[in-house]
């Protein structure tokens, strides 16, 4: 075991529930980025879980099943587990934002995305909304996981004189960000370079756009921090 004995004890106390509020909150945050700690907490929970079988039952004062079922229905209506409904919510949100913000170019792009979104097929069509925040979509990247076909369209990204937008794929397995090409004025990346990557890498990666000197990064590395980022979500079959 590579976990320190102090962390292992912290995991045990988290599972037992004896940590004070600040300590519990700290550990809850740490387990999100420390898989070993998360595993240790789960292991301690499993060790102690049998005790709950001995819990004397108490009947709740009211039947809570209808309220629980209503919550589940409400959750299903707003976020399907496969992300489809989430995408629709996001599409609706940036559609509204884009229409308000940018006019014709955005409207054209929306037409494109709407077609993409309603196209029939297995969950192989994915889109990533590349944005600064939820209400400022800049590009939409559309990827077919089977063919690794990649299309990027600008929504509200302002053209920058003497500069180019460049698209990057970021995934821990790949190491440093890898360029997917420069996004030209027509909004299409030159050179579909996704074919070289595994399906799982393509699906899990973060996509980022940087501002580069005209023609793209001179040395194959991003010249600065990403200005827009996004993850892939499946398009409804």
């Amino acid at each position: 075991m590579t976990l320190s004995s102090d962390d292992d004890f912290a995991a045990a106390e988290f599972a037992l529930g004896t940590l004070e509020p600040a300590g519990r909150a700290r550990l809850a945050a740490r387990r999100l980025r420390e898989p070993e700690l998360d595993t240790a907490i789960r292991a301690w929970e499993a060790r102690l879980a049998a005790l709950s079988e001995a819990t004397p039952p108490i009947e709740p004062p009211v039947d809570l099943l209808p309220a629980i079922e209503a919550r589940i229905r409400a959750a299903a209506a707003t976020s399907a587990p496969d992300g489809v409904a989430t995408l629709h919510k996001r599409l609706a949100r940036w559609r509204a934002a884009a229409i308000g913000a940018t006019g014709i170019a955005a409207a054209l792009a929306i037409g494109f995305v709407a077609r993409e979104a309603t196209r029939a097929g297995a969950p192989k069509e994915f889109v990533a909304i590349l944005q600064k925040s939820a209400d400022s979509p800049a590009f939409v990247a559309s990827i077919n996981l089977d063919s690794r076909e990649l299309t990027v369209r600008p929504l509200a990204a302002p053209p920058q004189a003497g500069k180019s937008y460049e698209l990057w794929i970021i995934e821990p397995k790949l190491g440093p960000p890898r360029s997917l090409g420069v996004i030209d004025a027509a909004g299409v990346t030159r050179g579909a370079r996704l074919a070289a990557y595994d399906r799982s890498v393509v699906q899990d990666a973060t996509y980022a756009v940087t501002v580069e000197p005209e023609g793209g990064s001179p040395d194959g590395k991003p010249s600065g921090p990403p200005v827009f980022v996004g993850k892939l979500v499946p398009v409804e079959p």
Partner: protein, 194 residues
């Protein structure tokens, strides 16, 4: 009050566990009827779990609802190799209750005056009507702990007492309680894995 005669039974017995595991499998496949059956079979135990930690009834009801929504969402993640279905569900419910009772807030429950602790009666796992193999092993290992230390673990588990609350309860410094817990938990693991 649920009785042991209802089917499927929310007890630790292997047969009841199998019934619950089947229901969980159907819930994972989004079977609403199975979910209702699962709720009927387990809600009183899960309410028992959260209500002993959250002494306020409204908070307990809320925690129970959140727990079952999570159970619906996560049913597919249940792994029978790692424990019983009831233990898995109770862990979800317990964590909801603990998150609530340990929520970082301006005036914490920890500030409540002494004497506002849960009822003195500790749940005695020995009183369980039926014991799964895992529960029997855990009870045997708990039996190896000194009485005070065993009670501290059980008060924490069943009533959600924090280190500080345990310190007040046992009239000992928090550091001492921490040492007790550390020794007890490590001893428990060693015993369970031997």
């Amino acid at each position: 009050m649920s009785t042991a005669e209802e089917t499927p039974k929310a007890t630790g017995s292997a047969a009841a566990g199998d019934d619950l595991a089947l229901l969980l499998g159907r819930v994972a496949a989004r079977d609403a009827a199975a979910f209702a059956a699962l709720y009927r079979a387990t809600h009183a135990v899960l309410y028992g779990v959260v209500a002993r930690i959250l002494t306020r009834g409204d908070a307990s009801g809320e925690a129970l609802q959140e727990a079952y929504v999570r159970i619906w969402e996560k049913a597919g993640e249940f792994d029978p190799a790692k424990g019983s279905p009831l233990g898995w569900m109770a862990t979800i419910a317990r964590n909801r209750a603990l998150d609530e009772v340990r929520r970082v807030r301006p005036a914490s429950l920890e500030d409540m005056p002494e004497g506002f602790e849960p009822a003195a009666e500790t749940v005695d796992p020995l009183a369980a009507r039926s014991r799964s193999e895992r529960l029997a092993a855990l009870i045997a290992c708990l039996g190896n702990l000194e009485a005070d230390k065993r009670e501290a673990v059980l008060l924490a588990y069943y009533h959600g007492l924090s280190r500080e609350a345990l310190a007040r309860r046992f009239g000992a410094p928090t550091a001492t309680i921490k040492t007790w817990l550390r020794r007890s938990l490590m001893q428990l693991r060693e015993c369970l894995e031997s």
